[in-house]
């Protein structure tokens, strides 16, 4: 029976995994170890600032185990969306960790580095050719918006990985990639069905999130066959059930029957989920529907200013009753004070214990909290102005004389000195568009290099 065994150690490189689970996976003799390192979930900052949302030491810990095991067994290790966001600085950061481990552990291998950052100029040319389309609810991209963009990445499909494998890469580290691609590419190269390979990849990219109890930091094994695939968690405390695996199809997607992917869509309308044992699930019927127009999803961000925040608590019941009016008054005072300087800024008060999480959508109108947590937030075109606005709003609120005030020495309890914190540059997403390509590899240049000494 033709079978491809894939070991998925963790949902995000750096989220960790138990060594016992990983060894259990190695005992199943995997043909491949693959891991997705990224997500756009942590928000626009990481893509814009060029830093990873995962910690370097945690990523190094995971990679040390994965690289060593992959090289001992002479099986490929594939990493997608390096450094979290998969831009150029993120990729360099991840490559640096790999090279450091290789040196320390005296490992040697052929490594493919596939780039995922797309230059705004290239997107501009494609835009002029009518090859860029918005994903709802965004509108058409404009040249003006592109000029403001700090960084753009494109989610590569399986093809750049296939090309790297064909060129003999033993370790592949790639920029932004469609999450399932790192698992599906070797399978498609070996002639397995693309729909089943992508669906298995979609489950494996979240490792044990599809098991019960679920976890983003434990190992899952995938067994891809000609007409089905099986998934099995590698920790005996977890199991996959038809329900847990089917439910995972819902996760982070808009439509569970039709999942768009680079070059086509994954059609799960006839997919069946069957118990293969008490802990493993067999999946059949998933199909890939190719699209004649191959599109790449772009993600881009622009910088809109700098942020400073202050964190404080309020315990006084008289103040809590009037918190909305007090905040309005503080806002007015700030505006009035700096009107002469004509400062541009955004000032917000997040009141936890009242509506900090849901703001205007909060269904609870009457709050009975005995204390409130307040974040005073200022965003301005430069850090100094953000500091000014935050500081002034904080000192004004601290000493505001509201109706019926008994506690005339101060209104806010600051947990820290300093009370204010610079949160640095603020980015927002401004590109979330599809770019049509004629060659799935054209946006993603690759270098093949030798790490360590040949034959070492």
């Amino acid at each position: 029976m033709k079978e491809l065994r894939v070991l998925a150690p963790t949902a995000i490189l750096g989220y960790g995994f138990p060594i016992q689970s990983f060894e259990e996976g190695l005992r199943r003799d995997p043909h491949l170890i693959a891991v997705d390192a990224g997500s756009s979930d942590p928000g626009p900052f990481y893509l814009g600032a060029g830093v990873s949302f995962t910690d370097r030491s945690a990523v190094k810990r995971d990679l040390e185990l994965l690289l060593t095991a992959a090289r001992e067994r002479k099986i490929p290790l594939i990493i997608g969306s390096a450094g979290g966001s998969g831009g150029e600085p993120h990729l360099e950061w991840n490559v640096d960790i790999i090279e450091e481990i290789a040196k320390e552990k005296k490992l040697s291998f052929k490594m493919a580095v596939i780039h995922g950052e797309i230059s705004p100029e290239l997107v501009q040319d494609k835009l002029a050719d009518g090859k860029v389309k918005p994903l709802p609810p965004l509108e058409e991209l404009t040249c003006e918006e592109l000029e403001k963009t700090e960084r753009i990445v494109g989610q590569m499909g399986i093809e750049p990985f296939i090309r790297a494998l064909e060129m003999g890469a033993e370790v592949i580290v790639a920029g932004r990639a469609y999450d399932p691609a790192v698992f599906a590419a070797p399978a498609v190269l070996q002639g397995f069905d693309r729909g089943l390979a992508l669906h298995m990849g979609k489950i494996l990219e979240c490792a044990c999130i599809a098991s019960t109890p679920g976890s983003g930091s434990d190992c899952m094994m995938g067994f891809l066959r000609e007409d089905c695939f099986l998934v099995e968690p590698l920790n005996s405390a977890r199991r996959c059930t038809p329900m847990s695996v089917a439910a995972h199809t819902l996760y982070e997607k808009s439509n569970p029957y039709l999942l768009p992917s680079p070059g086509g869509a994954l059609d799960l309308s006839e997919t069946q989920y069957l118990a293969a044992s008490s802990r493993a699930v067999k999946v059949t019927g998933s199909k890939f529907i190719p699209d004649p127009n191959y599109t790449i999803k772009l993600e881009g961000v622009k910088k809109i200013g700098y942020r400073t925040i202050s964190i404080a608590g309020v315990r006084d019941p008289v103040m809590i009753q009037q918190i909305d009016e007090i905040i309005d008054s503080v806002r007015e005072k700030v505006a009035e004070n700096f009107a002469v300087q004509n400062l541009t800024y955004f000032l917000d008060f997040k009141v936890y214990g009242k509506n900090g999480v849901m703001a205007g959508l909060e269904p609870v109108v009457e709050t009975n909290s005995h204390e409130l947590g307040i974040i005073i937030e200022a965003v301005a075109p430069c850090q100094a102005t953000a500091d000014t606005i935050c500081s002034f709003a904080r000192s004004t609120m601290l000493h505001w004389g509201y109706e019926g005030r008994l506690s005339t020495a101060g209104n806010l309890a600051f947990p820290y000195s300093p009370s204010d914190f610079q949160a640095g540059p603020v980015y927002v997403f401004n590109v979330y568009h599809l770019l049509e390509v004629s060659d799935p590899c054209e946006l993603f240049p690759m270098e093949l290099c030798q790490v360590g000494e040949v034959g070492a």
């Binding site: 709802p136 808009s254 569970p256 029957y257 979330y432």
Partner: protein, 103 residues
Amino acid sequence: MKLRDAADVIRSKNSGPYELTFDIIFKDSALFRKVVDSGVINRELFAKLYNLPLENVTAVICFSPANAIKATIVRPIPSGALGERDVYGAQQHVPLLDVEIPL
């Protein structure tokens, strides 16, 4: 019966930076069918709970393999944009908990 008593899972999460998606996974297929047949979980409900125009409720889909109803809305504020309060969108499910299901 309240939705929280009929479901094992009620969750919200980003589906990309511009959409929020909600999953309601029912305790069993009988409850799932009853709720679907009641017609209470529809686009109008999400428009009301999340104070949105109807066209911003992208879809409400029944997914029988998981005994689930899935709904997707346009985020009131994109993930990480100014004034936004839930970058991952993981705590926006609460208005669903107390929706009354006529069973």
